[in-house]
Structures are given as C-alpha cells and as structure tokens.
C-alpha cells in the first residue's frame, strides 16, 4: 500500500515548490527593505502557546502536551516575551508551514504555506497605519496591485459582546445573523463607505472608542491615498486580537490573500507585556493566482 499523506496534507514538487519559494522570497525581501528581519520559530511548541482549538496536538514521551503551530503569531509572541522584551522596537518576519486540524476557512486544507511580519512597539495608531501600508506594499511587490483592505475592530466586538464565545465569533465571521446575540446583529449591515458614520449614530456608547480609533485609522490611510473597505463584522476566529483586524482581497482572487490585526495582550500571556500588530499572507492562495497569470 502506498502511504499517501493524510487528508489536506500535500507534497510540493518542482515548479510548485519553486513558485512558493520565490513568492516567499519576494515577501521577505520587501519586508527586509523596511526593517523587518527574518526569524525562524519552532514548528512544535508547548500547547499553551497556541490560542486555536484547531492546532494538531499530541503527547510526547515525557507526557507533555505539544502542538504543531496553527499560526505564527503565538510562537513569535513567545519569542518576543522571552528574548526580545528589552528591545524598544521589534520588527520581524517569518515564513513556513502551519497545520490546522480541519479548518473550514482554509477550504479543507490542513497545511498552509504562510509568510508574514509583526511589529512590537508602543501600540499606536501610526503602527496600525504602517502595518496596513506594509501589507499593501507586499501585495504590490507580488504583482497584486489591485488589493483592497477590509477592516474591522476586535475592540468593537469586545465592547458590544464581552468575551463572545468561539461559536458567536464564527457566526459573525459567516454573517449568520440568526445565530448572533442582538448586540452584534447590526454589524452585518455595517459595511461600506458610510459604515462608520452609521455606526457612530446607531451603536451604543460602549462602541464609540473603538469606532473613533477606526475612524482615525481610516482618515490617516485616506490621506496617504489608500482606501479601506470598512466591514464592522470583520472578525478572526483566533481570540487574541484586541484592536484593528483586517483581511486583504485582490481583484479576481476568490479568497483572502492575507489577514492581520493588533493583539496587545498576547505577549503578556507569556511574560512581559508588549503590544503587537502584524499581517500574514496565504502563500498558497497567492501561488494559485500567480499560476493563473503565467
């Protein structure tokens, strides 16, 4: 019997391997030019590093619960908390494979090729602006110049529905209005140019600080010539985001090419407190549309 890889796990041969590597190179080179330096983090970590229920987990010989990384943010935050906490301004990049035990968002893929960057600084809106501009520059370098950023806010969702369960976040992510608590239902309608203005008028006072921060971000990016799509139901399945969250869509590509956001409490879970913001690209999705163009 030929031992084929498990469901959702794939080999990459020759041209495909070459394409994936060259896209990663483009991403890392573009980032390096702006001060983001590559680090290599473990594929295997103690279970507590991962926020996702979708990590592939197992027990090693000593009885310790370990997991394969389902994303890079956890391991990167651990490195920053333990080894880089004394550095004022940390900008780093990474690339590699992540594994997820059945992630329907990735279309049945259990293995995804990613490359991305994170910035640990002071938690300012300027850093949010820089991160989104950086992500757009990377998209441009990849030959995806017509890329749109869709932004929302994890702080907004926290203000409207504190400690929302994973099921609720998932329902919001799917815009499944029937399963949402009343406080979150209006978000599904709040998409587009006038979304922030409508939100300011209709959402309760608790939502206002998060809306103000988003408005500030939108104005700053607009002044720099970047238009955002505000989509206030924008949400990540991971629970560690605390501020802006965004995803990147390129014309003619049916899935997000990348996503990111601000997570000011994650590093603190591993020790020293440090706000962070970053973005990750789905190199597999980008490769598929690069092949389409070739």
């Amino acid at each position: 019997m030929i031992p084929w890889p498990p469901f959702g796990i794939v080999d990459r041969l020759f041209d495909e391997a070459k394409l994936l590597r060259s896209l990663e190179e483009t991403i890392l080179r573009t980032l390096e030019a702006r001060g983001y330096r590559e680090i290599i983090v473990p594929l295997l970590e103690r279970d507590g590093v991962f926020s996702s229920e979708e990590a592939v987990r197992f027990v090693d010989r000593s009885g310790a619960l370990l997991g394969l990384r389902p994303d890079f943010t956890g391991p990167v935050a651990r490195v920053v908390a333990s080894r880089l906490f004394a550095v004022d301004d940390v900008r780093l990049s990474y690339r590699g494979t992540v594994f997820r035990d059945h992630d329907e968002r990735s279309g049945g893929r259990r293995q995804v090729q990613q490359a991305g960057f994170e910035h640990f600084g002071g938690g300012t809106v300027e850093e949010d602006v820089d991160t989104i501009r950086m992500a757009l520059d990377v998209a441009s370098a990849l030959g995806l110049p017509r890329t749109t950023v869709s932004v929302g806010s994890a702080a907004l969702i926290e203000a409207l529905a504190p400690s929302a369960s994973r099921d609720v976040r998932r329902a919001l992510d799917r815009r499944d209005v029937d399963l949402l608590p009343p406080s979150l239902k209006p978000l599904v309608e709040l998409v587009g140019d006038d979304a922030l203005a409508r939100a300011r008028e209709t959402l309760p006072p608790a939502a206002q600080p998060a809306l103000e921060r988003l408005g500030d971000l939108q104005k700053r990016l607009r002044d720099l010539g970047h238009d955002l799509v505000v989509d206030l139901a924008e949400v990540r399945p991971w629970s560690y985001y605390t501020g802006v969250v965004f995803s990147l869509y390129s014309e003619g590509v049916p899935r997000a090419i990348g996503a990111g956001g601000r997570y000011d409490a994650l590093v603190g879970r591993f020790g020293n407190h440090r706000p962070g913001v970053g973005a990750t690209f789905d190199v597999d999705v980008i490769a598929r549309c690069a092949k389409g163009r070739a």
């Binding site: 279309g107 799917r174 815009r175 209005v177 998409v191 799509v229 995803s247 049916p254 997000a256």
Partner: protein
C-alpha cells in the same frame, strides 16, 4: 457584473419570481444552456444542482448563490450567509413507522438509518443519544424503511404527503430549513453594493 449560482431544484421558480427583471428570460431558461444572461444585463446565472451551489460560491465561480440551509450545513463550505429568506421552507426530520421505538431499538442493537444527509444525520442522532449505522442513499429514502433496509430515515419533510403515503411519521424534528443567500468572501468586500442589491430583491419575494 455579478454571477449568481441558481439551484435547479424546487427553489428555482420562487427565486426567479423574487429576482423579477434581474433574472434570465424564459427563452434562455428553456434553451438548456447552463450559463444564462440576466434580462437587465447586470447579472449572469449558472444553473447547478443544489448540493453544488456552495462550492461554486466558495471558489468564486459565482459571486453569490441561493441554497437550502439543509444543503449548506451538510456541505460546510467557507462562505458568508448574510440572508435567510422565507423561500423553500421544509423540515429536516427523523422519520419512522408509527410503532417504531427508536430509543428501544438503539438500546437492543444498532439502529439503521438511511439518509441523503450523512453529516447532519450523524450529528442529530448523536445529540439524541441514538448511535446508528448510517446508510447513504441518493433518492426515495422512504423506500428504505418499507423494504427493511433501515429502521428510520433522516430526510426533508415539506408537506408530509410522501411520508403518509408510505406509512411513516415524523419522530423528531431536527431543524427548519429555508433558503439562504450565500456570498463569496471576496465578492462581499469587492462588490458589496451590487451584492446588496440582489439580496434586497431576495429579501422581499413579493415585491
């Protein structure tokens, strides 16, 4: 220009009525073509089987589609589902002969359940503490009980006439299904206003 995936099945007539002038012409519909232009030129349509609608939308072959909640839950595609319509209302149920005691059967041996909805049936039976052997069928599921292929079925019930004609009754309702509009994740952001315009038509089927 948006592309809409229309199911070929029982929903189609209601959907075309709701879409009104945005929909394809009668001649085009009668032509057996699978890709049809809309009469106003703002939409085009692909005609696909119900269970295929989520895949077309997830992978961007269509910007949006309409599909029953039953199919959507069975398929678990990565799509947005921003609108529940009132169209195509039916119930997903566990059905058996009146005298069949499912709990007793499950205790004394292995319950045999025939269904087109493997995932949903498996979840529903598990939640009710009824471990079962599932038999996947593609049509006329009621027949399975009549010829003793299965003790019960998990299937859609619309009027209940088919059940009655075959001597079956509803034992448990799993959920009520109506048609949902589903939207591709990228189209929702990149073509939002166009998508909204179509959803608005589907929301008011009488308009």
């Amino acid at each position: 220009m948006l592309r809409v995936a229309l199911p070929k099945g029982r929903l189609q007539r209601d959907l075309l009525k709701a879409l009104g002038p945005l929909g394809p012409s009668e001649e085009d519909l009668a032509s057996r073509a699978l890709v049809l232009p809309g009469r106003t030129g703002t939409l085009s349509f692909v005609l696909v089987k119900d269970p295929d609608v989520p895949a077309y939308v997830e992978h961007g072959a269509a910007d949006l589609g309409v599909v029953g909640l039953d199919v959507l839950r069975e398929r678990e595609a990565d799509v947005l589902e921003p609108l529940t319509t009132s169209l195509g209302r039916c119930r997903l149920c566990i059905c058996a002969r009146e005298e069949t005691d499912l709990a007793a059967l499950a205790r004394s041996g292995t319950l045999r359940v025939a269904t087109k909805y493997r995932r949903l049936a498996s979840d529903a039976l598990m939640q009710r503490g009824l471990p079962a052997e599932l038999i996947s069928l593609h049509g006329s599921v009621e027949l399975a009980v009549l010829v003793d292929l299965a003790d019960a079925i998990v299937d859609l019930v619309e009027t209940g006439n088919t059940l009655k004609a075959n001597g079956l009754v509803v034992k448990e309702e799993i959920f009520v299904s109506t048609a949902r509009a589903i939207v591709n994740r990228a189209s929702w952001r990149l073509k939002h206003d166009e998508v909204r315009a179509v959803l608005a038509r589907l929301e008011e089927p009488r308009a």
